[in-house]
């Protein structure tokens, strides 16, 4: 699951970006709110899961994304 998320992030923000769990998708990767939303949609599609929107409103870092996605990968 983590590999898929990192793969989506690299595909979206670029291979040249150093992406780790503490990376902030806006401050470190240069994205905006639409980028974060786009990444979440791509992750959902790749993993075949559906995350309620309310859970993603505050997602800004990779670790927060992994946490939210992790909850649904386990439960779905």
């Amino acid at each position: 699951m983590k590999d898929t998320v990192i793969e989506v992030l690299k595909g979206h923000f670029g291979d040249d970006k150093e992406i780790n769990e503490s990376s902030h998708m806006m401050d470190d990767l240069g994205g905006d709110e639409f980028d974060i939303l786009d990444v979440i949609v791509q992750v959902e599609s790749k993993l075949g899961i559906s995350i309620p929107e309310e859970e993603t409103f505050e997602v800004r870092t990779v670790s927060e994304l992994l946490e939210v996605v992790g909850r649904h990968v386990q439960s779905d």
């Binding site: 979206h12 902030h24 240069g30 939303l37 949609v41 409103f57």
Partner: protein
């Protein structure tokens, strides 16, 4: 006979003295009027000079405001171009952002983002009209802290990623 001539001379001298006295009095009166008029004119000149100085200060203020508005206009135009780019952003894989598709998949999130952007746009108008920047706006150095709608005027200390 001689005393009559003396009397005539006396009256002539008296009339001359009287005429001279009247003339001096008249000159004094004229002089007072002229002095008063002069004082009024000097007062009017001082008022005019004060008015001219005030007008010059007003012109300087207007020029300063005009310069500020022109600078803001340039910055806002740059921000507008950036805003337009946001809707056509291409990611690292070469895929163009599809806001419409995102809005279908995540309507609440898009609404939340747009509500925030709307508030930021309103703040942009306030700043453009002269509202001073807040500490938070001045201290914003990270992308997550900035006003994304008019960064150039709202967050002078932010260096774009």
């Amino acid at each position: 006979m001689f005393s009559q001539i003396k009397l005539v001379f006396f009256f002539i001298m008296l009339m001359g003295a009287g005429g001279g006295l009247w003339y001096v009095q008249h000159l004094k009166s004229e002089n007072e009027i002229l002095t008063l008029n002069n004082a009024k004119l000097e007062g009017a000149v001082a008022e005019q000079q004060a008015l001219i100085e005030q007008q010059l200060r007003d012109i300087e203020t207007q020029q300063s405001i005009n310069k500020q508005l022109t600078e803001n206009n340039v910055k806002l135009t740059a921000d507008l171009e950036l805003a337009n780019e946001k809707f056509n952003k291409v990611n690292a894989s070469g895929e163009r952002r599809d806001i419409g598709n995102l809005a279908v998949s995540k309507p609440k999130s898009i609404e939340k983002i747009e509500r925030k952007r709307e508030q930021q746009r309103a703040r942009c108008f306030e700043i453009a009209q002269g509202s001073p920047l807040t500490e938070e706006e001045l201290n914003a150095t990270k992308k997550s802290q900035i006003n994304a709608e008019c960064t150039n005027i709202a967050n002078p200390n932010y260096i774009p990623y």
